[in-house]
Subunit: 266 residues, 4 copies
Amino acid sequence: MNLLVSRECQAEDSIVRVGEIAFGDGSFPVIAGPCSVESEEQLMACAEVIAESGGALLRGGAFKPRTSPYEFQGLGEEGLRLLVLARERFGLGVVTEVMAESEIAMVASYADLLQVGARNMQNYPLLRALGKCGKPVLLKRGLSATLKEWMMAAEYILANGNPDVILCERGIRSFDSHTRNVLDIASVPAMQEMTHLPVVVDPSHATGRRSLIAPLAKASLAVGADGLLVECHPNPDKAWSDGAQSLDLNQFRDMMAMLPSRILKS
Amino acid sequence: MNLLVSRECQAEDSIVRVGEIAFGDGSFPVIAGPCSVESEEQLMACAEVIAESGGALLRGGAFKPRTSPYEFQGLGEEGLRLLVLARERFGLGVVTEVMAESEIAMVASYADLLQVGARNMQNYPLLRALGKCGKPVLLKRGLSATLKEWMMAAEYILANGNPDVILCERGIRSFDSHTRNVLDIASVPAMQEMTHLPVVVDPSHATGRRSLIAPLAKASLAVGADGLLVECHPNPDKAWSDGAQSLDLNQFRDMMAMLPSRILKS
Amino acid sequence: MNLLVSRECQAEDSIVRVGEIAFGDGSFPVIAGPCSVESEEQLMACAEVIAESGGALLRGGAFKPRTSPYEFQGLGEEGLRLLVLARERFGLGVVTEVMAESEIAMVASYADLLQVGARNMQNYPLLRALGKCGKPVLLKRGLSATLKEWMMAAEYILANGNPDVILCERGIRSFDSHTRNVLDIASVPAMQEMTHLPVVVDPSHATGRRSLIAPLAKASLAVGADGLLVECHPNPDKAWSDGAQSLDLNQFRDMMAMLPSRILKS
Amino acid sequence: MNLLVSRECQAEDSIVRVGEIAFGDGSFPVIAGPCSVESEEQLMACAEVIAESGGALLRGGAFKPRTSPYEFQGLGEEGLRLLVLARERFGLGVVTEVMAESEIAMVASYADLLQVGARNMQNYPLLRALGKCGKPVLLKRGLSATLKEWMMAAEYILANGNPDVILCERGIRSFDSHTRNVLDIASVPAMQEMTHLPVVVDPSHATGRRSLIAPLAKASLAVGADGLLVECHPNPDKAWSDGAQSLDLNQFRDMMAMLPSRILKS
């Protein structure tokens, strides 16, 4: 039996739409925003620059999976309300993570694209429920997931009724602590050979280093990725999470200036 | 602030009791059983030999996290009923995996020790809920989890009210496909230095190869582990999952014969 | 003390010249050729297409490090003579691997750029001797070398008197067998931050899969690499080594057609 | 064709003799000594305790492969003379590393067992020359070598005429910096299934942490290893290299006291 996600099952590229934004049609939409939603002021500052610079969607964490139980766990539903407020003001669709099956309906009532984090890539009850949630899903690759396991995780969502899955390469765990993870850029064309789903790249989590994000964004575009996910923050040094890998808003503007607002992949 | 799981917080070893079985008191209890509960006949055949050979607890999967949505996903609650039947017949406490927050109460009504699988080690909503479940928890190390991340995952359970956590080293992902994973045996004394929680070893998942299980069981005892988790099956070649790494029942008896029924660690 | 290879020691980019070809001046020279020199016919067929397509240098293995002692070990000095013949006919400088200190003088009498393979990145007697060889050196990253170890390997060459080192990212060993290795593309800008030496990329060894080479070549250019190293062969399916990762000559032409003959990095 | 190192070629265990010490006969010889030979006083202090405690052979580095060219590179031939002096005084055979083909004859004129370090496991000219050196060879596993690659490296030595190879598992590179490397203890029985050569374990390099050496030594014995290699030093905090992973001489005595002087593997 051919997998639903496979090219054998569907030869042509899937186009996944999030409002007016399309992933997989040859364009290169940029999803951006802070790691965590911290305050109205912080979020609106990001959203304004993202919208002005040609960003496609606004991301922000409201329910945060954190290694320690004593780290900031996100603003919860209040964070979602702020994201919706930003959407109303700046016209950017909202992307946010959902961690628990029991929270899907609530999160889906606010967000336009539901993110599954790397730690949950093989949380099968969550994936099954997302198959029935009625919203597109952004499925991050697990820290040590093979390409086959990643495809199979997507298959859980499609097999439960939801064809709208965007894959996100965000780096794999390796031996060198110089970068937080290793961006497996070859996974982009390798997955595109095997599956019809769009594949975007997150250079922020892949490297954990601000200075590497712009070069990797250019490489992601060149390799044929279907979009980008980057973290930005009005004041990265004061960010409540992931500051070291967040662009400040000027750096974000500069990066976007390098990338045409409506890029057709070669 | 010291972590609840740390030696700084509690110098003496924690003893986690599952019925009459103690983990962390210097003994070496053996948890055994099939990967998946398949049928009454299969499960009782295992349980009989485990009880006769001095095994401490019976494990069996009823809700199975499987890479593909098209693989056997476990018998579900029917599997749990069979595990309870085996407990009644052979006096072995029951260990089984719980994958979803919404199933904890139901699984806990059958099982004596709740297992968190490697894929869910950082499923924080699940860990938080297990902090309030009233049953001891067996927390497997994630495939690419650092020791610190593993400790922090346990901390989620303790911080939510449940001190009864047993850690399980089950191999980490590495580059050589000769074995399924690499048993990081040094993690046992390393974790015992940092935490007061008991640490058991699962050589079945660590290697994926039947012939390596007995030598690794001996090594686990020698290194100072607080117990063992092994897969066995009446007919491994016909097992619905993980046959290659399951001992048959004679091999299980032979392995147990090497290990005194009540072993005191040196 | 600052390392000789570091930006602290020399802020501006080093330009390493191999005949008329420069690495590190903002251009993107392409080194190409077969994994092993097999015959005059095979090598001249490659060299002709490489020269016509705007390739910069001809690579070919004459002394081959092979995992098994029973695999083809290269034509030896006869292979070097064929490389020189190709240089005379097509005007391409010659790149080839040197494996042993005792062979450096002989190999250097034929080649224009001496390659240190991944397996020898920490062969310090070899590196020391290359510091005194009078020819530029192409230093491949070891399969599990950290960036710091790779820099230190280059430092051995510079500290022994040879400033002309080109670094080559060729993929690191990881857990997924889908590709032969994982191209750590972030290592290019990360190394360029820390060192003034040019960094080129070898997508052939990085992936082991022909179909991924062209997308990775484009990504390497976009990320700011100082050149490319690719394998090509007139008949990859009959290649004596590494056929699966060699482009055929039409594929090589197509890849070169995408890359301007004299590319200035953005 | 069956490999010379394989069980298909030779079913019974090879016994490799280094003077009166045998590896592979069911005993568990302990090789010990400092990482680097630093002085006569340091070396004799080690050798005396090793001999008294039942150690089998004295190791010490005279030619040291060091990540940085500016680190101590060993005393060279003077170090070898000190090792021979210790042999004369304490009756312990001498084990030391050889890094270069050109130094084999000289090193072999002093040492009883020639060590190939992890960085040189695939230095084929060195391996070929060791096939003709007339001395037994201790072949360490490379940092990211598969079991098959390790066997093939040994095959280079046997195929060149030297049957006396002892394999040494010394940990593989992985993602967690808590330990220096990950001891792949399953490689011991896995290699013993595939090859007739003896396999010893080096817990010092495997962990880089003094406190983990004794538990891993016990585990190595229990898993069926054919011997042990450990670092010790009269004053580890002042060691010129690898102090953090060296036992002091009292710790070494204590570890040996746990291990019978003539152990038969179970």
